[in-house]
């Protein structure tokens, strides 16, 4: 039934990407283009007392210097809602340059526009801004005593406290308890393409924004709200996006500032963030601390979990990444208490960062599970199997699909887990201490709340174009949607062209929270099946068709040819019918209405991670030697690109575990390492070969094709698997990420 879906089609945009012809948002040729450069505040807590732009304004080529003194006020401030909602989606409840207050270092305080980039950059150094400063608050340590429990977090979507059963009684009655504190450094996404927006107004006041974003509609609606311009007058184009990982999931002020600057100078304007500005202009994974207590029976069956988290957020938003959600339901236990606490500091609002919440929360959970396994002398895989739940423990509803047991078992087999000696410091190869570790992965299945649409059109020669306003930021969405369209319509892959990337196309939500493939495939599938019904309807109603008078339900389509299921000789191609009837094309819209919030099923994606590390006994160097990840993401649309995304996620997990930390200079309130030379991400030499596998599950709840998505789940659990492997190698139990070499040395010597 699905000859194309599940195959391994090479990326259809591959040629454009390897030949350099793919144009990202800062690369579209536009005549008469001017360049804007942002100036960020060098201080974190201040009032602006004076601005002197005279010298900058007189500098060669300068067209304008915009500050809070002359930038127009925004029309309104939309509220912070995750872009999955399909509404305006500002990254924070704030717009810069509206008054003289500086809330965090790097906050935009001026925009300089000139005829060339070099002249804009130079003039930016000539703008003099005086500040009246106050000592900033930028560390978790500084706010922990003033922390508060928010009503809601995550754009108001999640409660600040979740409870089931009786946590005190559960922990009191537990035969074994594991309690630990976990510390997490702030992380930054650092896609290789810095966020860039090019803005062009036409002579009748319509705006085109070329924007690197996970969903063009989110930029359109957000800019419309800030600018007070109807969305119908704003077209957003996002053909290629050079990575995002959450940094382009929400719409940050630079997109609107580019439009304001272009309107001000009467020319198209390109505004590109530089690398340092990427650390202060589009969110981050917040610095956080988690306090976790597990209570279990002597056989390892969990009975109670208490999980508290403290996060550092901004002055204007109650943001914490939702770290507690997956640990709360991953295993079957009756007593639970999860509490988020926040403290406000001089820092930008944090945001989604790949596996937002689960990357940290599951590190705590699965590290503690490893301790529990050792304490009671049960194999770590066996301990997970004993705690697997067939229902969502929070509601008692069955899972829409799980596959966790299969992932654990398949992962153990692929990795060669059986027969592992659980004692630490037992394997040594020369100077290298060798250890292995594993962890469970889990990620909640998020659904869009509003209808998702796509449009399919077939021409009389049989060629097909399918459109939906998605953006391509590395997920391979266009390639996958080509497969979906081919199968649904009953044509071959090479007959279909899928196009996305702008807001003139049928509206679809931003691809965030691993929900992109599910939403887009639902809309595309419904569009092509509607088109197919229409075409079959035309054939059976047509006296000249071999299918005249047939029951439409008895007609099947393969290779673009309609035929009776029982009499394959009776039939004709779409193309033959349309040409005979002198119909140039037929078109249909697919309109997917996502299921209501309460579907009577728990919806979650599961997986299992395994890692082997070598730790240099003298230097403390940690090298991940191999990784195995097995996942149950529902229907896999394109095996090739899905496995690549899962592999990339696993290596993201490696980065989180061993390398990635943005460190705050508390005296200045500025990030101390805001560059790609100082913020370490995995390089080729860090990255071992990775084995990725998926297990099939029957999934028919989440969306028409049963797609749960693969963007985040690959990251989840990696940090614990590596951390547990480091413990196995050295006897050092990592409770702070990233793991520092000196921690290993002080313990392992």
């Amino acid at each position: 039934m699905s000859p194309a879906i599940g195959g391994t089609l090479a990326r259809l945009d591959g040629r454009a990407k390897v030949s350099g012809s793919a144009r990202y948002s800062g690369e579209v040729p536009i005549p008469h283009l001017a360049h804007a450069v942002l100036i960020g505040a060098p201080v974190a807590n201040a009032r602006i007392t004076a601005v002197d732009a005279t010298e900058a304004e007189q500098s060669a080529g300068v067209l304008a210097v915009l500050t809070h003194l002359n930038l127009p006020k925004v029309a309104m401030q939309p509220s912070l809602l995750p872009s999955l909602a399909g509404l305006a989606a500002p990254g924070h409840t704030f717009f810069p340059m509206q008054d003289d207050t500086v809330h965090y270092a790097g906050q935009h305080v001026a925009v300089v526009v000139a005829d060339t980039l070099e002249r804009a950059e130079h003039a930016a150094t000539l703008v003099r801004i005086d500040y009246d400063t106050t000592p900033p608050v930028t560390l978790l340590e500084e706010i922990k005593d003033q922390a508060y429990e928010p009503q809601k977090i995550f754009g108001g979507l999640l409660p600040g406290r979740q409870v089931r059963g009786d946590i005190e009684a559960g922990l009191r009655d537990a035969e074994v308890r594991v309690e630990a504190m976990y510390e997490f450094a702030a992380n930054h996404h650092n896609p290789i393409e810095p966020s860039t927006t090019t803005a062009a107004w036409d002579e009748v006041g319509r705006l085109t924004l070329y924007d690197g974003i996970q969903g063009p509609t989110s930029t359109q609606l957000t800019a419309a709200a800030f600018l007070g311009v109807p969305p119908a007058q704003i077209r957003v184009v996002s053909n290629y996006v050079g990575g995002s990982f959450g940094s382009k999931a929400m719409v940050w002020p630079h997109a609107t500032l580019a439009a304001m600057a272009a309107r001000h100078v009467g020319r198209p304007v390109r505004l590109a963030l530089n690398r340092e500005q990427m650390f202060t202009s589009c969110g981050h994974r917040e610095q956080q601390r988690q306090h976790l207590t597990l209570g279990a029976r002597a056989d390892g069956k969990l009975v109670a979990v208490r999980h508290h988290k403290l996060s550092l957020t901004s002055h204007f938003d109650d943001w914490a990444e939702p770290s507690l959600q997956s640990p709360a339901i991953i295993y079957d236990y009756p007593n639970y208490e999860g509490i988020y606490r926040l403290g406000r500091g001089n820092i930008n609002t944090p945001t989604f960062t790949r596996a937002p919440g689960e990357a940290t929360g599951m590190f705590a959970m699965e590290s503690a599970m490893d301790e529990l396994a050792e304490r009671i002398g049960v194999d770590p895989v066996e301990l997970r199997l004993r705690n697997c739940s067939d229902t969502d423990p929070a509601t008692g509803d069955p899972w829409s699909s799980s596959g966790l047991r299969e992932c654990l078992e398949r992962g153990a087999e692929l990795f060669g887990w059986a027969g592992r000696d659980p004692r630490p410091r037992q394997r040594r190869e020369g100077n290298w201490l060798i250890g292995t570790g594993m962890a469970t992965a889990a990620y909640p299945h998020a659904q869009p709340v509003n209808p998702q649409r796509a449009r399919a059109r077939i021409y009389s020669d049989g060629s097909v174009i399918v459109e939906a306003g998605v953006s391509e930021f590395g997920t391979g969405i266009s390639t996958a949607m080509t497969l979906v369209a081919a199968d649904g319509l009953g044509v071959t892959v090479d007959q279909v062209r899928f196009a996305g990337g702008n807001t003139d196309m049928p509206n679809i939500t931003a691809a965030v929270g691993s929900a992109g493939a599910g939403a887009a495939s639902a809309a595309v599938h419904l569009s092509v099946t509607a088109l197919r019904e229409q075409l079959i309807g035309m054939a059976v109603a047509d006296e000249q068709s071999p299918l005249h008078g047939a029951d439409p339900a008895a007609v099947v389509v393969e290779g673009g040819r309609m035929a009776l299921r029982d009499r394959p000789d009776a039939g004709e191609t779409y193309s033959a019918m349309l040409q005979r009837k002198l119909v140039p094309d037929v078109e249909a819209i697919g309109n997917w209405i996502p299921p209501a919030q309460d579907v009577g099923h728990g919806m979650h994606t599961f997986g299992a991670q395994f890692a082997e590390v070598g730790v240099d006994a003298e230097l403390g160097l940690i090298r991940v030697r191999r990784m195995v990840g097995v996942f149950a993401p529902g229907r896999v649309l394109n095996r090739r690109t899905a496995h690549s995304q899962l592999m990339g996620g696993m290596l993201w997990g490696l980065g989180q575990t061993l390398l990635e930390a943005t460190r705050m200079d508390a005296r200045s309130g500025r990030w101390a390492n805001a560059s790609l030379a100082d913020y370490l991400v995995p390089v080729n030499a860090d990255s071992p070969d990775v084995v990725v596998d998926t297990v099939e599950v029957h999934e028919n709840v989440v969306n028409p094709l049963g797609v749960k998505g693969v963007g985040e789940i690959g990251v989840v659990g990696v940090a614990a698997a590596i951390g547990n492997a480091v413990y196995h190698a050295t006897g050092y139990r990592a409770r702070s990420l990233p793991i520092a070499l000196d921690d290993i040395l002080s313990q392992a010597s």
Binding site: A10, R11, D13, G14, R15, K17, V18, S19, G20, S21, A22, R23, Y24, G26, E27, E55, S59, A60, T116, L117, E118, R119, L126, N190, P191, I192, E193, P194, Y240, G242, G243, S244, F245, A272, N274, R275, F473, G474, T475, G476, R640, T641, S644, Q645, M647, G648, L651, W652, S675, L676, A677, V681, P682, V683, N684, A685, D686, S687, P688, D689
Partner: protein
């Protein structure tokens, strides 16, 4: 510009090169075999000259600090970071970018191998990866995987396609045409 007057003073010693700039000057660049005349300030980097003046946007700007490798091109056959290279310093040299790698419509084997091995996702680091990968083979730095891992580590891929990048390089090294 502020420095217009002070910097245009010329030192009158016989063995000193002619001072050009700081305003626009004529710069001839040979890129992918084609000669281009540009009117640019001497401070314009090769990267910005390629991207903003010649519309050769295949060469990418990831950090503008020489840390990510996305801007890797060849100058006289050597790989260089075009963000740290001034365009004016490339006169009378041959610049080769990703747009000049294919033979007409036929992709370079490394480009084809990157597609066959799915050695990229978002594609933004890819031109730099490919320019490094081809140079790596020529330099003899791809003897084994540890060699490739080390010598490709100047090119960051945030999508982390690294294992597939190694596969693509191995394929071209060993004369395989994909899987």
């Amino acid at each position: 510009m502020r420095s217009n007057t002070q910097a245009s003073a010329r030192v009158e010693t016989p063995d000193t090169a002619v001072v050009r700039g700081p305003g626009d000057v004529e710069v001839w660049l040979s890129v992918n075999g084609a000669a281009h005349r540009l009117a640019i300030e001497p401070r314009v980097s090769l990267l910005d000259a390629l991207r903003d003046r010649l519309e050769l946007t295949g060469t990418k700007k990831g950090c503008n600090q020489g840390a990510c490798g996305a801007c890797t091109v060849w100058v006289d056959g050597e790989r260089v970071l075009s963000c740290l290279t001034l365009a004016i310093a490339c006169e009378r040299r041959e610049v080769r970018t990703i747009e000049g790698l294919a033979d007409g419509q036929t992709l370079h084997p490394m480009q084809a191998a990157f597609i066959a091995r799915d050695a990229f996702q978002c594609g933004y680091c890819t031109p730099g990866q490919i320019m490094s990968a081809v140079a790596l083979l020529k330099e003899g730095h791809a003897k084994d995987d540890s060699d490739i891992r080390e010598w490709m580590s100047g090119n960051l891929c945030r999508c982390a396609a690294y294992p597939h990048i190694r596969s693509a390089i191995r394929d071209v090294r060993d004369g395989k045409t994909g899987d």
